[in-house]
């Protein structure tokens, strides 16, 4: 595979530190510009929904946050598997760095969902399969963060963390397909699935801008956190001092 040597090189801490630093220079302006564009368009340009009226605009932050909460967990599971196979410091640090951002995105999805639920369903919270499995995801993130901070032996903690992360991955398809498997109050998938409610083209475009903005912001946060966690972990080595000198 032609791309493999570069991926292999990325597992070297100094190379990862420098590459992540370069990526941040692209991701931060992208997140800010797309965020401004997406929020502006969602509040000022997007048309009203025929059924929900204006309150549907919450969807422009709720849906990307919910997607990110699941995507970041899947990514963390990917790094957990990588860590079990290769045991590199980069995979361990990426796994740890993904957890807080994932937890914040899950929290944002739950709060925005509750705010949308009150005028739409008449209740901030219902014990619906989608909502309950998303709440379970928040607890999973918090539990994994607690595991990451409690045990003293870092290498052993990394392995335990990787194992728990992979086991918790079973919740992701449960969240995604909960609206298909069960008769839930939560509406079905907005995009992609057959028979899903159709969305106007301009609404889809604005949702795409908001999703890309949140994706860039989360990628920037995770990479920035991973860089400094890696530098802290390897502070005995010469490279972190060279990088900040």
């Amino acid at each position: 595979m032609p791309g493999l040597p570069f991926i292999k090189r990325l597992s070297s801490p100094p190379v990862f530190f420098r590459t992540a630093g370069m990526l941040l220079r692209v991701l931060i302006p992208a997140a800010l510009s797309l965020g401004a564009l997406g929020i502006g368009a969602a509040l000022l340009l997007a048309p009203s929904d025929t059924q929900q009226g204006e309150v549907y605009r919450v969807l422009y932050v709720h849906v990307p946050a919910a997607w990110m909460s699941m995507f970041l967990y899947l990514l963390a599971s990917g790094y957990a598997v990588l860590h079990w196979v290769y045991r590199t410091p980069v995979s361990a640090v990426m796994l740890r760095a993904l957890l807080p951002t994932g937890a914040w995105m899950t929290f944002a999805a739950l709060v925005t969902g509750a705010l949308w639920g009150k005028p739409t369903w008449g209740a901030y919270w219902v014990w619906d399969a989608r909502l309950t499995s998303e709440l379970l995801l928040l607890f999973l993130y918090l539990g994994l963060m607690a595991v990451a901070s409690l045990v003293e032996d870092e290498n052993k903690t990394d392995r335990v963390l990787a194992l728990f992360t992979v086991v918790g991955c079973v919740n992701i398809p449960l969240i995604y397909f909960s609206v298909v498997f069960w008769n839930t109050l939560h509406q079905g998938p907005s995009l992609g699935a057959a028979g899903a409610p159709r969305m106007a083209g301009e609404m889809k475009l604005i949702l795409l801008a908001c999703t890309l903005a949140l994706w860039s912001a989360c990628a920037a946060l995770v990479l920035a956190r991973a860089r400094w966690m890696l530098a802290e972990r390897e502070y005995d080595a010469a490279w972190p001092r060279k990088e900040i000198a």
Binding site: A42, E54, V55, P100, M229, E232, Y235
Partner: protein
């Protein structure tokens, strides 16, 4: 009157949702910056000790 109240409550719901999401990103950003500052200080102290 009731329609005006509904409109205000809808605007408040939308504003709160956007604000909550931005606040989550801002808090996470603050945590990352704190980490960066702490690690940089640690490394700079190490560097200062090494320099004769």
């Amino acid at each position: 009157m009731a329609a005006k109240g509904n409109r205000m409550s809808t605007s408040l719901t939308i504003a709160l949702s956007f604000a909550a999401t931005l606040a989550c990103i801002a808090i996470d950003c603050t945590l990352v910056l704190r980490k960066r500052r702490a690690v940089k200080r640690l490394l700079q102290d190490e560097l200062a000790q090494e320099t004769p």
